[in-house]
């Protein structure tokens, strides 16, 4: 075999999903033995689909996959594993109550019905030694950190005989030390002709340091293949987010008024107990949209939740109209005019089994105007709900329709209709357009601009950089829990902000 011959080739792979979404469009990729080949792309670029096709979870509509020059067809992940492909999922597929060793040998064809733990241990131990993995084989998986669990998954794939290793966001949950160890092991694997394919959105720099080649996906297409040594991080980030000129929404000219919200040096933990928000300070004024651009998982969720009162900060202050509200409850914050639009619609923003009226009630159930002596005044509530449904153009047979039957765009209109009229001062919109079609997205954006016109301050969070640039007055790219910078919209250049949110440009703040 020629040294540079690809061991894995993807040729012209296209995948369409119901509803006309083309997730992958004639994608070509070649992976050589022993190379570290990063695949970059924003959320929605088609990375997950490509991964699933390579691992046999999905079948392509068009195109072929070749391994060692031979055409293959994966009907299931088992086929892919038998052809030497290993996958390390971002959501771990391990059994927490079992030991590391048990997890590694689980499902291995050699394991059979009677366990030969002694022999398996020797094999796994030698594997770990060869690639420099440091694992306690007798530890229970639940005791391990996220990084250690990832190593278990890698070792399991290698033990299964993987020669091509797909890593889904390998560095996103790791500490810097763990990242260093992982990169070292990746190099050790490369020496043994094992190819690794990290799929990356977060944390460009680390991957940049170790990969040989990079393929960049955008909107389902391969936009660039490049040798890493010929590229710069900034250039990669630009390819990832694209550079096309955008259609501009008419931003209403609004007089920026007094300060509504001031956040001082705010830090908060994520659900996993990691410091996710690290000392963020900013302020929002009346009629101002403050946009946070960032790839999810960089602390914007935690920030939104702290301001909405859903999460306790570790340190720092939230000041609303000059009043310290850091310790105010969610309900109290709702009462003084703070509204929060959560990113998950069904189950958080709205309840599927509830009627539209009962959903709208979620924002007024505590309002004395709609109840007498602890009992809800359903006549008033229904009148109010009807008004909201027509005002927010929610398409439904009646206000008794269950929210579960609404389409995504309609559901979001319902959520906005429930929250916006009860919000007088500060609206926190966390990814309000995610997953919506073009028309619904436009409707949401113009709703936000209407709120701005009314003099509300808006904290706008989105992963879609174009959108943040289009809507916001100020833009703060967030990376690893810190604002890289706070830029006025006029000064924000897309490439620059894109590079900042990918971690390519270090910043202060």
């Amino acid at each position: 075999m020629k040294p540079d011959a690809p061991i894995l080739e993807v040729r012209g792979v296209t995948k369409r999903f119901p509803g006309g979404v083309v997730a992958l469009d004639k994608v070509d990729i070649e992976i050589r033995a022993g190379e570290i080949h990063a695949i970059l792309g924003e959320n929605g670029a088609g990375k997950t689909t490509l991964m699933n096709i390579l691992f046999g979870v999905l079948q392509p509509d068009e195109g072929e996959i070749y391994i060692h020059g031979k055409k293959v067809r994966f009907r299931s992940p088992l086929d892919a594993m038998n052809m030497g492909i290993g996958m390390v999922h971002q959501l771990r597929k391990l059994i927490p109550a079992h030991t590391v060793l048990e997890n590694i040998i689980l499902g291995h064809p050699k394991t059979g019905k009677i366990l030969n733990l002694k022999k398996a241990r020797e094999e796994v131990e030698s594997l770990c030694k060869r690639y420099g993995f440091n694992l306690d084989l007798d530890a229970r998986v639940w005791q391990l950190s996220a990084g250690e669990q990832q190593v278990v998954e890698i070792v399991r794939a290698l033990y299964r005989g993987a020669r091509i290793l797909i890593l889904d966001e390998p560095t996103s949950v790791l500490t810097p030390l763990e990242i260093e160890a992982l990169l070292k092991s990746m190099k050790a694997m490369a020496k043994e002709e094992i190819a690794t394919i990290p799929f990356v959105t977060h944390k460009l720099p680390e991957v940049f340091a170790v990969s040989d080649r990079v393929t960049i996906l955008r909107r389902g297409k391969v936009v660039k293949k490049i040798e890493t040594r010929e590229a710069t991080i900034k250039a990669l980030a630009e390819y990832m987010v694209g550079r096309e000129v955008l259609f501009k929404l008419d931003k209403p000219q609004v007089k920026i008024g007094d300060e509504i919200l001031r956040v001082e040096n705010l830090s908060a933990m994520s659900d996993k107990g990691v410091l996710a928000l690290k000392g963020v300070s900013f302020s929002i004024r009346e009629g101002e949209i403050f946009g946070i651009a960032g790839i999810s998982g960089n602390g914007q969720q935690e920030l939104a939740e702290v301001i909405a009162g859903l999460r306790k900060p570790v340190s720092g202050k939230v000041i609303f109209q000059g009043r310290d509200i850091t310790h105010l409850s969610v309900l109290e914050r709702m009462k003084i005019g703070i509204g929060y639009i959560p990113p998950e619609r069904l189950g958080v923003g709205a309840i599927g089994a509830f009627s539209l009226a009962d959903n709208i009630l979620m924002s007024i159930y505590f309002d004395p105007e709609f109840s007498t002596k602890g009992f809800l005044n359903y006549k008033k509530i229904r009148d109010y709900a009807k008004k909201i449904v027509s005002e927010f153009e929610i398409v439904a047979p009646s206000i008794d329709t269950k929210a579960a039957h609404l389409s995504g765009g309609n559901l979001q209109r319902l959520i906005l209709g429930r929250i916006i009229p009860r919000t007088s001062k500060l609206l926190i919109a966390n990814s309000p357009t995610v997953g919506l079609d073009v028309a619904a997205t436009e409707a949401v954006r113009s709703r936000l601009l209407a709120c701005k016109k009314e003099g509300m301050g808006i904290l706008f969070i989105s992963e879609d950089l174009d959108e943040v640039l289009e809507v916001s007055d100020k833009i703060a790219p967030i990376y690893e829990g810190r604002f890289v910078k706070i830029l006025p919209a006029e000064e924000a250049r897309k490439e620059e902000v894109g590079a900042m949110m990918a971690g390519a440009i270090p910043g202060g703040s």
């Binding site: 923003g349 089994a353 009962d358 979620m362 924002s363 505590f366 602890g374 809800l376 359903y378």
Partner: protein, 361 residues
């Protein structure tokens, strides 16, 4: 090449189940239970139609089974309501048994301490004490769940066991022991429940509670908060509903209602007027588990629970004729109840899925 078309069954998730669908599922499951049990009856050489006719004619005969049917049926209704309230908030109260024991202790403690009080004062006091004791027991599990996130199924089940032995401690050779040593002393006559229309007045009390509960859950602000929490804890959190508070509240309310049934059971049936032997009071307490099944079947609708509870009561009482009147083997009546509860539970599947026939591609 000839392909054989094999139809493929596909299950489809139901997003929202309507009340009418729920009723037809229950009727269907009952029909299946009756058909399955008919097989057993025929195996034993009995005519199923004749057997069923006997069951219901006994259960609803005014001179024979009716008063027991109503008494047991409404006892089950107490337990059903005690299950429904926490379940509306997403919590599994399987502690009706323990809350019933605690209610028993509360009511009897009052009756033994103040036997000379006028019934008009004594009986309300007994009910109040039973409700408070039950509420305390429910709230205990609610507090552990709300504050420390301890699974309420585990705690309520364990508390049931503790409560069983508490009653045992008081009755068998304990301070409340009667002459028979393993039963309690009889209740003073002033504590006996007045009978209205063949049934103790507490039957009407529980019907009233069922109606009030329906209105409370549907139209009150707290009821709304309970329903939001039950449907989505995340949504509840986002609109400022305090989950720990609601958790303690619903468990206490459920416990209070189960606690009331302590008085209803022992003071409402002239066959008792005391706490019987441990096997007997345990057998009665086991009936509370019907509350769980009925609650789920009627989709946590407390009004629908009224007829269903009485229906189960009638089978409970009526099926005893299989043994006594038709001379069928002992245990067949229990088997019938077992089959009904199993089919009810199995048909829960259709609350979540519908089966569609799909042709192979």
């Amino acid at each position: 090449m000839v392909y054989i078309q094999i139809p493929k069954l596909k299950r489809e998730r139901i997003v929202v189940l309507t009340g009418r669908e729920a009723v037809s599922i229950s009727v269907l499951s009952l029909a299946v239970a009756f058909i399955v049990f008919s097989g057993f009856l025929m195996y034993e050489g009995a005519d199923p139609i004749e057997a069923y006719r006997n069951i219901f004619s006994f259960a609803f005969d005014q001179k024979l089974g009716l008063s027991t049917t109503l008494h047991r049926g409404f006892f089950i209704l107490f337990a059903t309501l005690a299950f429904i309230i926490p379940m509306r908030a997403g919590l599994w109260n399987v502690g009706m048994e323990g809350q019933f024991y605690l209610g028993t202790i509360g009511a009897f403690a009052v009756a033994y301490t103040l036997p000379t009080l006028h019934p008009g004062i004594l009986i309300p006091l007994m009910l109040l004490a039973g409700a408070l004791f039950g509420a305390f027991y429910g709230a205990l599990a609610g507090f552990l769940r709300g504050k420390l996130n301890v699974n309420e199924v585990v705690t309520t089940l364990m508390l049931n066991n503790i409560a069983f032995w508490l009653v045992y401690l008081l009755t068998v050779g304990g301070p409340w022991a009667g002459i028979a040593e393993s039963t309690s002393r009889p209740l003073p006559a002033s504590a006996h429940a007045p009978i209205i229309l063949n049934t103790p007045f507490t039957s009407f009390l529980v019907i009233g509670i069922a109606v009030i509960l329906y209105i409370f859950l549907k139209y009150s602000s707290i009821g709304y908060q309970i329903r939001v929490l039950g449907n989505s804890p995340a949504a509840a959190k986002h609109i400022g509903i305090s989950a720990p508070k609601i958790t303690v509240l619903v468990m206490a309310l459920g416990g209070a209602i189960a606690g009331l049934s302590g008085y209803h059971m022992w003071a409402g049936d002239p066959a008792f007027f005391m706490i019987p032997r441990p096997e007997a009071y345990k057998a009665i307490a086991d009936l509370t588990y019907w509350g769980l099944i009925i609650g789920l079947i009627c989709l946590l609708n407390s009004i629908a629970a009224i007829p269903l509870s009485v229906f189960i009561g009638s089978i409970l009482v009526g099926s005893t004729v299989l043994v006594r009147r038709l001379r069928l083997p002992f245990g067949l009546d229990v088997l019938f109840l077992g089959i009904i509860s199993l089919t009810f539970v199995a048909f829960q599947f259709f609350h979540y899925y519908r089966i569609k026939i799909k042709r192979r591609e």
